[in-house]
Symmetry: C2
Subunit: 566 residues, 2 copies
């Protein structure tokens, strides 16, 4: 079920070639690139012969087009029959080269391989993703178009949409490169790599809680604020620019959404195999400049940036530092080009990881850890989604029928009071004044009830939504590890078959151990952040809930005091 290259020919079709050299067209929607890395294009990869990892692949539906068949790295999964998802889900994980299905947990019957893409259940400002149609966001270039050579979407329109089609907070999507020859995936690239590691070393230490990343002494943070409408082409095109101020320099830099997106793509390329990089908040076409939307996007960009700042590996990376503190436009352009040429991307990131004073783990241990994290993230994903569903229903009730009911109660009291006033009976005011006030109080409570979710449930939802997005990236990340484990477990056979040397086998095992430490460090980072985040959001939620109920009680106490004891 893998193909050996693919090329977007437009109109929703992808030209693909399988390992037997058969070429044909498959619908774009049926294809998902896994760990596609712009690697060989930069000419630095050792020309490994990985053909022994290939499985059989059925012929694509048609072979109307010839194709560039020179690239053996691009690995696709496809199923032109439309039964894709279920077939995929039914396959044992990790049995194919580089297969890291983002759909492994939640393949439904909808025939689309992207998990975590259900409709946006959160009733807050609906962010509709119509990236394919959002031309102006993508056609305009703040700086040199040509410089974004590795930034496929800005050049290839609708073809890029396949990777971005998720609801906000959906799974990490690794870029589909439309140009055959750019893609390379599979952990074997790292497991069997002969080249020396390039780039900054990423040490892992044995901490109190287990393997941990090296945390900086100073916790980086930044503020995303002050969204401003900018325009270009004599006002024909407009956009929103956000001011991003890092706590290090305290010097603000301006960034448009597409720059955040560029950063996301770079981080995903470079760290995605080891660190789940959550998606950015969705783009939106309609009402893009409406205040509410801009505020919401800013809030979510802030959340995304804060999470990135808190990550010791991300926050100290060159590309992230560039984004936060470039000096001028020239500095930004230069840094951008450099980042796009970074070679240590995809699974090669593991080559920079150095467990310090930690013993090598055998594959059984590696697998156990991996399974444990897989189980946990899956269970948490379910729990978070459950909470989001319930929170969403609660949101609807709190902003819909409940305040309406309090309002009706308030109106009924006031109406009865009006009737009473009409009695002409002396001393009526001793009741009616109080009854009218009570009615108004319930109308105020209605208002409070309707506005409350924005004060408490909103943050609970946002945090869980963020976690839903983050957890949606784990299948991809964990998939890389599972694939590596499978390779290591096959090592004996490969040695026996003379495909790899015994030294290769030892090396693979050691590298799988390194990968495991990276995963453990990442999980410990995740747990640490999670405990902080949930403590914080629950405190915030409950604090606001307490205030809410106290305020209602206070209002009712006042209403009560106006009735006379007779």
């Amino acid at each position: 079920m893998s193909c050996r290259f693919a090329r977007n020919i437009g109109g929703g079709w992808i030209e693909a070639k399988n390992s037997r050299g058969e070429v044909g067209l498959v619908p774009e929607d049926y294809i998902e690139v896994n760990q596609a890395q712009p690697f060989t294009s930069r000419g630095n990869a050792a020309p490994l012969d990985l053909s022994f990892f290939d499985s059989q692949m059925p012929a694509p539906a048609s072979t109307a087009q010839t194709s560039n068949g020179n690239d053996p790295w691009a690995v696709f999964d496809n199923n032109p029959s439309g039964g894709f998802s279920n077939n995929w889900a039914a396959q044992p994980e990790g049995t194919e080269t580089g297969k890291t299905s983002s759909n492994a947990w939640h393949s439904g019957g909808h025939g689309h391989p992207q998990a975590y893409q259900g409709p946006d259940i959160y009733p807050y400002p609906c962010l509709i993703d119509l990236s394919g149609a959002e031309d102006d966001e993508w056609d305009e270039e703040w700086d040199d178009v040509k410089s974004s050579g590795g930034y496929a979407e800005s050049e290839a329109g609708e073809g890029g949409a396949i990777n971005r089609g998720g609801a906000h907070g959906s799974s990490m999507k690794i870029a589909l490169n439309k140009f055959p020859g750019f893609s390379k995936s599979g952990p074997e690239l790292y497991l069997l790599s002969k080249q020396a590691a390039k780039g900054t070393k990423l040490p892992i230490y044995g901490g109190e809680v287990g393997p941990v990343w090296a945390y900086p002494d100073y916790q980086l943070d930044c503020v995303v604020a002050d969204p401003k409408k900018g325009s270009k082409m004599y006002g024909l095109k407009s956009y929103i620019e956000y001011q991003v101020t890092p706590t290090t320099t305290n010097k603000p830099v301006n960034h448009r959404y597409k720059h955040f997106d560029w950063l996301y793509e770079r981080l995903l390329d470079k760290y995605g195999s080891a660190i789940p990089i959550p998606c950015l908040p969705d783009k939106q076409v309609t009402g893009r400049f409406e205040e509410e939307f801009i505020k919401m996007r800013m809030e979510r960009l802030q959340g995304w940036m804060t999470r990135m700042c808190r990550h010791p590996v991300i926050s100290s990376s060159e590309v992230f530092q560039l984004f936060l503190s470039y000096k001028d436009e020239k500095d930004w352009k230069t840094g951008k080009r450099k980042a796009e040429k970074d070679e240590t991307v995809g699974v090669m990131i593991f080559s920079t990881i150095e467990p310090e004073g930690l013993p090598d783990l055998d594959v059984i241990e590696v697998e156990q850890k991996c399974e444990q994290f897989s189980r946990f993230t899956r269970a948490m994903d379910d729990g978070v989604k459950d909470l989001l569903t319930i929170g969403n229903e609660h949101w609807k009730r709190c902003t819909g029928p409940l305040p309406k009911e309090y309002q009706r109660i308030g109106k009924a009291f006031q109406n009865l009071s009006s009737v009473f006033i009409s009695s002409g009976y002396e001393g009526e005011a001793t009741l009616t004044d109080a009854l009218t006030a009570a009615g108004k109080t319930y109308e105020e409570i209605a208002q409070m009830v309707a506005e409350q979710p924005k004060k408490d449930l909103h943050f609970l939802m946002e945090t869980n939504n963020e976690y839903k997005g983050l957890l949606g990236c784990f299948p991809d990340t964990i998939g890389v590890h599972k694939a590596a484990i499978e390779k290591v477990k096959e090592a004996d056979k490969l040695v026996a078959a003379g495909k790899i040397t015994t030294s290769d086998k030892v090396s693979m095992s050691k590298r799988a151990s390194t990968m495991s430490y990276a995963l453990q460090a990442e999980m410990n980072h995740f747990h640490n952040n999670r405990i902080y985040d949930y403590n914080r959001v629950m405190q915030q939620y409950l604090e606001q809930q307490v205030k809410f109920y106290e305020m209602i009680a206070e209002k009712l106490r006042h209403a009560h005091s106006q009735f006379t004891t007779m």
Copy 2:
């Protein structure tokens, strides 16, 4: 549309005769007796010729039966065509002898003349009225069956159901007497009466708020308590007996529901034209001995008794005093027989009313007052029903979806906590203990929410339900007054036609003035009680609401405190 007599022949048919002597069968549901009084049967009424008040009546649907046509007093309204309600409503009020339509305000399209009989919207223990089927309640006689001669229903089974078919809190129904010759209605009986008033005088004084009844120095009250299951016929039949203890004697007496009903019938007969006598809480067949039902009925009987105690005319009446403080069974039986033979019933109650030092009112003033009270009670009726509808919906929400939602929120928190516990991450307990506690708190809140309506909304609903019942009696009471006003307005014509003397006319006007003072005194009594009741119930409601919200806030404050600030 009036007929001159009617006889229940069973099977849901009434044999009726109109003023032209035509006899036929009409469906029981189409007939409602207005101010039918067991008067002439006791042989004490002056044989007034009131035939000049008769209107034309169409022939009943069939004339298959001959009938006792000797009684000119029984006045029925019927409409065999089925369009009864609307026709009735379309007729100008008071144009026919003694017509006091209880359906005048709210005639719907259901073809049933009884207003205020919609389904019991209050979701609290549903009291289904199946009086026709409730044989054991009515067949069993605690004392002499024969003594209840004036108590038609105990002898005539399903025929009596027509008057008792209302939902609890429905309109006052004046007894349908199955025996032709027993009925007499219409205010002319009083307006043209030549006989001296019999029975205790009921003075009306000019108070601060206008005409008022004579209030006793000591406010009577009673406690309905201690429901006990009794049985008779060697245990074959069982019933519930309530202990009623008046504050005057502090000596408890026992009464079954049917005794309350007997009292109701007596009060209705005697005072119904001047004082709205609210219906008793409904009877119920199924689950009659279930704890919940008995408690509810007791509570409502208590409410009914309290309201009767608070009425200066009712509470000081002989029959009411008998009910509350009979000495022994013999005393009860004797008193019962005496009450049933009371002659000052129906409109004749006005003959005992004596406005003290109050000037005679002219008919314009009388009519204005009457109209004012009619408008007020109608508007209040609408307001009360509106509040009941809203309260009912609120009740449903508070006991249904809302606590379910809080429970789900609680479960979601606890579920997430369980997932977190499974992480194996050190220091997890700093979050999970608090998160589990928060989840449990929301489950507790769910419980509180579901139980709250019984603590506050219940009393608001009960009070409004009681007022709905009371207000449902006003059309009947006000109808008597309206009919009297019409008669007085016709007086000149009648004098000119030689039907009545000038002296009769003066007398009629004076008596209409007396009736107006009675209505005003009653309205002032109503207003006074209403202001007290609504002040009290609103205080109670708000007090409980405050407690409720404070308790939620307190619980959440405690849940909040368990999260650690990091």
